[in-house]
């Protein structure tokens, strides 16, 4: 079964003559453990799509199913809870809290969800170590490079063990080398930890790390390209891995 499924997903901003259709009946799926890139010119609806799937915004028409749950049927409290437990977010400008150190930043989603400090800190530390930041635990964001900050943000996205990671231009603020490292890490998150990733990017080099690319234009899906393997085999492999975890 698909982890994410959108059905005729549509978003219109404004009303009447000034209405702008940002997304126009988009149907797409993301399988568990699949790494999918969304590409398209600016203003094509990429970010809107991510916001709707992430429950940060509500659709005008159509719906988003996440693990079988219809997001449009959830009230704000339930939606917030689902977002915190099922989805990790990674942004272009990292969105870390400047006054918190790396461990505190990563532990935050757990703390907000009522997990005990010690448990949250231990989990945060473990994820930071997996991201290769074991020696940067007590650093605040301004004492980390861009690439390191983004790795903290990825650890924060993964700490609640979500099935889905949404990444909005995650390499947009990084140089080529750091960008490659982050893309490589996202690849590993799909391959080794079985998380699904939906990533918006305008960079072909970064998109090439994905299993599949969805092309958007004027709010519509205009093309879809599979880059690796056969969908069903890939899914089976990931399912086997997830069961093993």
């Amino acid at each position: 079964m698909s982890l994410v499924q959108t059905e005729n997903l549509t978003k219109v901003y404004g009303k009447g003559d000034t209405a702008v259709t940002a997304l126009d009946h988009v149907n797409l799926t993301v399988n568990p453990g699949e790494f999918v890139a969304v590409m398209g010119p600016s203003g094509c609806g990429k970010s809107t799509l991510l916001h709707l799937i992430g429950g940060l915004d509500r659709a005008t028409e159509g719906r988003v199913l996440l693990g079988g749950h219809d997001l449009s049927r959830l009230d704000d409290v339930k939606l917030t809870e689902l977002r915190r437990r099922q989805i990790g977010f990674v942004f272009q400008f990292y969105n870390l809290i400047p006054v918190l150190d790396a461990v505190e930043n990563v532990a935050l989603p757990l703390v907000l969800d009522g997990v005990k400090q010690n448990t949250a800190r231990a989990k945060a530390t473990a994820w930071l170590q997996k991201m290769g930041l074991g020696d940067r635990l007590a650093n605040r964001p301004d004492h980390l490079s861009g690439g390191q900050q983004q790795r903290v943000a990825i650890a924060r996205a993964l700490v609640a063990e979500p099935a889905l990671v949404l990444a909005d231009e995650p390499t947009g603020n990084l140089d080529t080398r750091a960008g490659d490292e982050i893309a490589s890490l996202l690849r590993q998150i799909a391959d080794d930890w079985g998380r699904a990733i939906l990533m918006v990017t305008h960079d072909p080099r970064i998109a090439a790390y994905a299993d599949r690319i969805i092309f958007l234009k004027d709010g519509r899906v205009v093309d879809e390209t599979r880059l690796s393997g056969n969908g069903t085999d890939e899914t089976k492999r990931v399912m086997a891995k997830m069961e093993a975890i």
Binding site: S184, R205, A208, T225, L227, S228
Partner: protein, 195 residues
């Protein structure tokens, strides 16, 4: 010319026989899939280099199997090698099969130009994905030379993909313009001007 010069370079490292030379060439260019040189080409090139006095036979390797003639570079060969190493290579030519396809799709109407672009984009992305995966597997501590060659491929594919986007965004404009045609030239022999 470059295979010939590369063989000279490999012989400047140390004397080698033909089989060894071919293997060394394939290794340095990053594998047969990048640049395949057939054994026959290696042997004919060696023969020509010997005729020109740039290499000479230095002995015979009598290991197991057939005898192998070992070649070494001569002083004239080193001069030639240095001249090649210190000169620039020729510029890329502008031959591009995709461009040809697109022009003919536009002018014949036998295929949708947008579809032609889309098909090419899919192929380029698949290639870029494969090379990216290969690059991730390579160990930067021991395989940096290969990584740099893969980086070149990545950058070229990236450029091709951006070029496709550029063409796509200007396709309507291109369609409105006449396609390149040969300049009208008078056919046949120039007419004699009556005097």
């Amino acid at each position: 010319m470059s295979v010939r010069n590369a063989l000279l370079g490999l012989l400047a490292q140390r004397p080698r026989h033909g089989y060894d030379l071919r293997a060394a060439f394939q290794a340095v260019v990053g594998g047969e899939e990048n640049w395949d040189v057939k054994p026959a080409q290696v042997y004919t090139t060696l023969a020509r280099l010997e005729e020109s006095g740039l290499v000479q036979e230095e002995g015979i390797d009598q290991g197991s199997g057939p005898e192998k003639r070992i070649y070494a570079i001569t002083p004239a060969g080193r001069t030639e090698l240095r001249a090649w190493l210190t000169s620039s290579i020729e510029r890329y030519d502008q031959r591009d099969e995709f461009f040809l396809k697109l022009m003919l799709a536009l002018s014949t109407g036998e295929a949708d130009p947008s579809k032609v672009i889309q098909t090419q984009r899919t192929a380029l992305y698949q290639e870029l994905h494969a090379i990216t995966a290969q690059r991730q597997r390579a160990d930067p501590k021991t395989e940096l030379a290969q990584i740099l060659l893969l980086d070149k491929a990545v950058m070229h594919l990236e450029a091709d993909l951006r070029w496709l986007d550029m063409i796509e965004s200007r396709l309507d404009e291109v369609k409105r313009q006449p396609l390149p045609e040969p300049e009208a030239k008078p056919r046949g022999r120039p007419k004699k001007i009556a005097d």
